[in-house]
Amino acid sequence: MDPRAKFVVIMAIFVISLIQTNVLALSLILVAQVPLIWIAKSMKRWGASMKGGFLLATLIFIMNFATGSTFTYSIAMTIRFLALLSSFSIFFMTTSPDDLGLALEEAHVPYTLCFTFTTAVRLVPTMATDAQTVVDAQRSRGLELDKGNLLKRIRNYIPILIPLIVSAIRRSVELAEALESRGFGLSVKRQPVTVLRMRKSDYAAILAAVALLMLAAWASIYAQLPIIEIHFELPRLWCIV
């Protein structure tokens, strides 16, 4: 699928998620993405990204509930976060940095910006590998990341962060030199190796996404969706706090 069409679909899911506050509707939005993930053969990676977002989802729930929102509303906000996380995960899992860069170029974003963005995305796995190597090197010198009080544990990350940042800066400088040596930044019009072309299926996906968005907007104003209310109150002791 053309990345531009994918982006429109994802943005439609994004906007629909923001419009809706109904638990049922948001759950439907989340569940409706599962077939897309299955088609993209990315269930495992999707599961890993959802697992990674679980902590933040819990935090969102707690923040909403602790600040006076109802239990149902807090659940709805948590599901909204998961739906948004899921939609962007699908986009980035199924779109290569090169395709993303091409799409941005087609949208007349300056090439240097496109390149900066795609290089940053492409270097994430490299930096993750570097981070693991740095952790291994420091652990081999007796660093114990899981020992000590909270302050000590935070300070223990200094020997990890500094080598990582220095390594990233060094890599950036070397990359910049290599790029300049290969003509990057010349004011000549670049010839792309591949050109993105929208197919009928891409246009159909865009139309479907726009139609769904309009339907969701209409439903949020005029339709009465079933409201699921879950009543839960904290014990009195917590309420006093």
Partner: protein, 277 residues
């Protein structure tokens, strides 16, 4: 002693890198682990200090099972010097960088000062003591990384690709230093592709290929076995390639010095024959 019994290791992505490694490294041995990229060399040495735990089998360091001990505890006995020194440098001065591990291990201030001074003198780093490690050249940063591991005097020293990025002079210094360490009773384990360097050091050589040990023995036996060298995707030592072209020259010569001695004897012998005619 470091031993491995039936060690298998599979990364989380399903890649099985070690497939049944059985080895024993006695105290005071000098071992070079060689093999092609992806053979499992770095994975194997990371099991020695507990950074990686075998998915099957066991690794013992001084009869302690690495699965039952922390990395920090194992590191006291197994000092691992990483290939890229930039992956560990973070302190403001070389002195602080070298002292870092001693502070982690809980040594007192005066012991830290004494040991740091000693190792900086040994590795000619005293002029850089108060310099930032980031301002040093590649070779100097490598020496700082080496110093930061040797400072706590581990019994077993593991070097991951120590000759990468080193010029000939630095390699020669490194070779002398490694030999000196080994002569002091330290176990030295080196992971390297540098066949010529290994040929000059003459350690025990272990060849790894696709997670298995395919050869283990003296350097002159292993590095002259053409089949093993090819299987491990290594370069044949140039001297052994040259000598193998002559039927009447020994085929287990791997370094220039031995080759020089043999050729000199042959030339002398030939001169004597000519003179007697």
């Amino acid at each position: 002693m470091i031993s491995a019994d039936g060690v298998h290791f599979t990364y989380p992505n399903g890649n099985e890198v070690l497939r049944g490694i059985d080895l024993r490294i006695d105290d005071g041995e000098f071992l070079a682990i060689m093999g092609e990229n992806g053979a499992g060399k770095t994975t194997l040495i990371k099991t020695f200090n507990g950074l990686l735990r075998p998915t099957k089998g066991q690794v013992f360091v001084n009869e302690i099972d690495t699965k039952k001990t922390s990395v920090a505890s194992l590191s006291r006995n197994v000092g691992l010097v990483f290939q890229n020194p930039d992956h560990q440098l973070f302190c403001e001065t070389v002195r602080d960088e070298v002292a870092y591990s001693l502070r982690n291990f809980g040594y007192s201030r005066d012991i830290v000062e004494r040991r740091v001074k000693g190792i900086l003198e040994t590795l000619d780093l005293v002029p850089y003591m108060n310099s930032s490690p980031f301002m040093l050249s590649g070779g100097e940063r490598k020496r700082v990384a080496l110093a930061s591991v040797l400072v706590w005097n581990p019994q077993h020293i593991v070097l991951d690709e120590p000759t990468i990025g080193q010029d000939y002079q630095q390699k020669d210094r490194l070779r002398n230093f490694i030999v000196q360490l080994n002569s002091q009773g330290k176990t030295v384990i080196m992971v390297t592709h540098d066949v010529e360097f290994v040929a000059e050091c003459r350690p025990r050589v272990m060849l790894l290929s696709r997670g298995k040990i395919i050869g283990d023995g003296r350097a002159d036996k292993i590095l002259t076995d053409g089949r093993l060298i090819d299987q491990a995707s290594l370069l044949h030592p140039q001297i052994s390639l040259m000598f193998s072209s002559f039927n009447d020259l020994p085929h287990d010569v791997i370094d220039v010095y031995s080759a020089y001695t043999i050729v000199k004897k042959r030339i002398r012998g030939s001169r004597n024959v000519i003179a007697s005619l």
